[in-house]
Symmetry: C2
Subunit: 111 residues, 2 copies
Amino acid sequence: MKPHYKVNGRIWIETEDGSFLGNGRVQLLENIQELGSLNKAAQAMEMSYKQAWDLINSINDKSRKPLVITQTGGKGGGGATLTPVGEKAVKEFHAVRKKFNKFLKEQKIHI
Amino acid sequence: MKPHYKVNGRIWIETEDGSFLGNGRVQLLENIQELGSLNKAAQAMEMSYKQAWDLINSINDKSRKPLVITQTGGKGGGGATLTPVGEKAVKEFHAVRKKFNKFLKEQKIHI
């Protein structure tokens, strides 16, 4: 039987300084938006708090304005919220990913 | 200064049974085409012979006709050549990657 070939892939947004946003980071931002806490956002994707914190710093460092604002202290390590820039970044990523998924579906492989 | 955001990514061809061809595998096929030997092809990309052999088996197993034919025995482990199907697969991958590079360049990110 002839196999069915499909093109698949992944995309990310980067700056001159390296990776800015990919699937994992966007998922983390969405979790923060939903849960209001970096700790809970990390837990929801089985990521350590330290790892999530490093990712958020990497994201904020590459933007003129921060995408996430964290409030330190308090029970559970304080809250975290997406800024308007953060919300826009999530939307932009989804928009590009949607176009990318369309691109992938359009590719026909004949080998 | 406002950072310059760029969309980047990678693509591969897969079947129902998993990954068929990506950048690394296509590079291996091209090395085989150029060097006529699986051993030399592997060496040229700092891959072990075993690893290259496994990749070629994985590629051949997912195709109705083999992409690579190996001749066992002789000095240096025998020769390896691309079949017409193998040559076609390399061309198809490059064609899709070219379209993908165009897609990437067209994406504008405003955050």
